[in-house]
């Protein structure tokens, strides 16, 4: 599979995750979200950027439980709840947000 952005083609796996995370650009995240029928706002980007920073530091995408706790600490208690994160990413915050962030599917995604 592949996704087209600005006339360029990017390889993805069968679930739509980017094959080469070095190719990622914000425009790719936006395009993936548009294809899923839900454009991204600044609240989505807060989480996506957080995931990218987490991956950079630890070389993994965090499990939902870990993500929720860490977001609460970084962005405020009201945002560190699974309700808030699932409202933003109804297909599962870790899975869906990681896809838009160009990261592999989180380790521990059961």
């Amino acid at each position: 599979m592949a996704i087209e952005v600005d006339g360029q083609s990017y390889e993805t796996d069968e679930e739509g995750y980017l094959e080469d995370l070095n190719q990622w650009r914000p425009e790719l995240g936006s395009a993936m979200a548009m294809a899923d029928g839900a454009p991204l706002d600044e609240n989505h980007w807060e989480v996506i950027n957080f995931l990218r920073e987490y991956y950079e530091e630890y070389q993994i995408a965090p499990a939902v439980r870990v993500l929720t706790k860490a977001i609460g600490k970084k962005l405020g208690k009201d945002k560190g709840t699974s309700k808030y994160l699932y409202e933003l990413f109804p297909y599962g915050p870790a899975k869906q947000a990681c896809k838009y962030a160009g990261l592999p599917k989180p380790t521990g995604c059961v």
């Binding site: 530091e57 993994i60 499990a63 870990v66 380790t107």
Partner: protein, 139 residues
Amino acid sequence: MEDGDQIIKKFMYMNRKAPYGTIYAWESLEVVLIAAAFDQDISLVFADDGVYQLMDGQNTEEVGMKNFSKTYSALGDYDIKKIYIEQESLEERGLSLGDLQDLKYEDEDDDWAEKDSIILISRAELAKVIDEQDVVFSF
């Protein structure tokens, strides 16, 4: 040990191989991260060549592999707080704790104070800890 009506078992992950040469170290880490979701009493052991997994300053750029040594620092986020390092294994390799990464967790019951996850343990003491486990996974 029981917590409410949920039974908590003692799970130990025994890491005895150097990283990168074989897939064991990374596989173990992935299994641990997955298993952490089940709220069990988890401990990790690094013994024999397994102590090399935690060497500080790993740089995999030239070998073109993922440097997963950074991932061990995330174990605290996954509530993994007991990381045993066998002292004799370090000594046989001319190593000391100072050659390894510092691993910490934040203690929820102590106002999120940062505490050391690493426990230096002798072979004799480790034998006892292993004997107390419900399940030991070997990597």
